[in-house]
């Protein structure tokens, strides 16, 4: 008796279930196609192209790992790899502490709070391309350049700025920091403002100095955010592209060329699509590794 009742119900459910599935998949379909078209299909084509000699985008002959060998033997690739490490190093030195300090100051200051926050965030509103061209102007190596004029008023002789192989990467990082620090500051500020004030009161009553309050209360509270933003920063610096492309073209003498910029260089300057594809795969592996490290650490800290 019971079976007879259950079965038709179950069948009914299965039919409904299928219809529900189909409808949901139809709703996802356009978006999935877009993700495939813009991200996954180009990536797969890249992997496949990297094993061939190509004429334009047409595969000509299978060459195995020859294109990878060419990339690894390219002295410019080596430069780009070292440069990416330099970008990372300088972005940690120049860009990492500034947002933390600014957030601490913003959370402590009560005068002109809104003005300071808006003004510090302001560079984020400037479109990236406009920001880097503007800084290129400011860093004009000519004695009439803006920064050189400021140096001159302090009787310091003009600097070559972006024309200097030693200065070029720190200066590009400075520009990136100028553009991005305000947003990172806001993220830290939001965390600082979520700290329960009673902790500070207790610490004060127990006679903790300001430094001790920061050292034993504020910083530990910020630490998970600091750790996360640190790794995200390293991953995003590994993706540096348009800043050197626009500011220096990768020069002087490839001193500022980045890995992604080299892909662009291979395709649009040298017309070697499969070499660019091989480099794309190499960079993808590097980014994949960094992301895996990030995921492992963020799992640990949560």
């Amino acid at each position: 008796m019971e079976r007879k009742i259950v079965q038709p119900k179950l069948q009914n459910k299965i039919v409904l279930f299928d219809k529900k599935e189909l409808g949901a998949w139809l709703i996802m379909l356009p978006s999935i196609l877009l993700f495939l078209f813009f991200i996954w299909i180009p990536l797969l084509s890249n992997i496949s192209l990297s094993f061939y000699d190509t004429i334009g985008y047409t595969k000509h002959s299978f060459v195995g790992l020859e294109k990878y060998r060419e990339v690894l033997a390219d002295p410019i690739f080596l430069k780009a790899l070292v440069n990416t490490a330099k970008y990372t190093f300088w972005s940690v030195i120049i860009g990492f502490a500034i947002p933390i300090i600014l957030a601490l100051l913003l959370s402590e200051v009560i005068h002109l709070k809104g003005f300071f926050r808006t003004a510090l965030y302001f560079p984020n509103i400037v479109p990236g391309l406009a920001a880097v061209i503007m800084w290129k102007f400011l860093m004009d190596p000519d004695p009439s350049g803006v920064l050189n004029s400021i140096l001159n008023s302090g009787s310091i002789s003009p600097l070559p700025w972006l024309n200097s192989q030693a200065l070029v990467i720190p200066l590009i990082v400075l520009t990136m920091t100028w553009k991005g620090a305000g947003a990172t500051t806001l993220i830290y500020l939001a965390v600082l403002q979520s700290i329960d004030n009673t902790y500070y009161e207790v610490a004060r009553l127990e006679g903790a100095s300001v430094w001790q309050r920061i050292r034993f209360l504020t910083l530990p509270y910020l630490l998970p955010t600091i750790r996360m933003l640190f790794i995200l920063q390293i991953i995003s610096v590994a993706k540096v592209f348009y800043e050197p492309l626009v500011m220096t073209g990768g020069g002087p003498n490839y001193a500022s060329i980045s890995l992604l910029q080299l892909i662009y260089h291979y395709i649009f300057k040298m017309g070697d699509v499969s070499k660019a594809a091989a480099l794309g795969v190499i960079v993808a592996i590097i980014l994949f590794t960094l992301t895996a490290i990030y995921l492992r650490i963020s799992k640990k800290s949560s």
Partner: protein, 296 residues
């Protein structure tokens, strides 16, 4: 001016500020902030002022911040010669399309994965999350080639729909939808709404805050976007503001028609719309950056 007596929370409070040394410390904090503010606002201010200078005045020694005179004629002349209204208009068209695609496609995908959860939705979710770590430039070559093959050169379509495949915006939508009460959707189902109707009649209206955040991010990103637009928009009549700037800057010195003074004016023109936009939506922008952790 507020008094330090009203400082009752945070690391240092009014009771600390009774000491003179702390008051001096507070003064130093203000000074440091002022110095940073000079660093952040001086370059754009210089840019706006320098836009009024002639090419000759730009390279004049000694350096002056202010132009000899505010030559609006020069700015208007450049606007007319370049026919700049056209690039503004093109940018606006792309932005409107980008915002629609961004909300509809990322929103629908998030709706399906967060609420409908059809069999296999986890695979799609994985693919979308995986695309977070792939910068678009990595496989720019094949993507560009596919766009050419589809005959989409000089078309705005790829520049708009590319914003429909954005893993960041998708995550924002999904996180928001995950927090919606189930009863809301169940009620709609009982009313006999189709899945698509539930999305635009029920979900979107209650998700206004996140639609707003994603739209604001998309407006800024679409305005600043230049690489794909530069590769796709070969016809000058179709180009956007950023493409024009990228071309002016890469051809600078090779053409007699424009010099650095022209580029400065065009840069200022490219900054003005986002600045106006920022001051209209200041509250939403600063709070969404802080809570979502997305910077652009």
């Amino acid at each position: 001016m507020e008094s330090l007596k009203s400082k009752t929370s945070g690391i240092i409070t009014f009771s600390d500020y009774k000491k003179t040394s702390y008051k001096i410390g507070y003064g130093i904090m203000i000074v440091i902030l002022v110095l940073f503010v000079i660093l952040t606002v001086f370059p754009p201010i210089w840019l706006f002022l320098a836009s009024f200078k002639s090419a000759k005045e730009l390279y004049q020694i000694p350096f002056t911040l202010f132009p000899d005179r505010f030559d609006f004629g020069k700015v208007i002349n450049i606007w007319d010669t370049l026919n700049f209204a056209k690039y503004y208009l093109n940018s606006f068209v792309v932005i409107i399309g980008a915002v629609v695609c961004s909300v509809v496609f990322n929103g629908l995908l998030a709706y399906a994965i967060s609420i409908l959860k059809p069999k296999g939705h986890r695979i799609v979710f994985g693919l979308v999350l995986g695309s977070l770590m792939i910068p678009p430039i990595l496989s720019m070559g094949p993507l560009f080639n596919n766009i050419v093959q589809l005959g989409l050169i000089n078309s705005y379509l790829p520049l708009m729909v590319v914003f429909g495949a954005n893993p960041f915006y998708f995550i924002l939508f999904k996180t928001y939808f995950d927090g919606l009460p189930e009863s809301l959707i169940e009620a709609a189902q009982l009313d006999g709404c189709t899945k698509l109707q539930i999305f635009y009649k029920i979900i979107l209206p209650v998700s206004k805050p996140i639609v707003m955040v994603v739209s604001i991010f998309t407006v800024n990103a679409a305005w600043s976007d230049f690489l794909l637009p530069y590769l796709v928009l070969l016809n000058d009549a179709k180009q956007t503001v950023m493409v024009k700037i990228f071309m002016l800057q890469s051809n600078m010195g090779t053409s007699m028609n424009f010099g650095p003074d022209t580029l400065l004016v065009v840069l200022s023109l490219s900054i003005i719309p986002p600045v106006i936009f920022f001051f209209i939506f200041q509250k939403q922008i600063t709070s969404s950056v802080a809570t979502t952790g997305i910077k652009e």
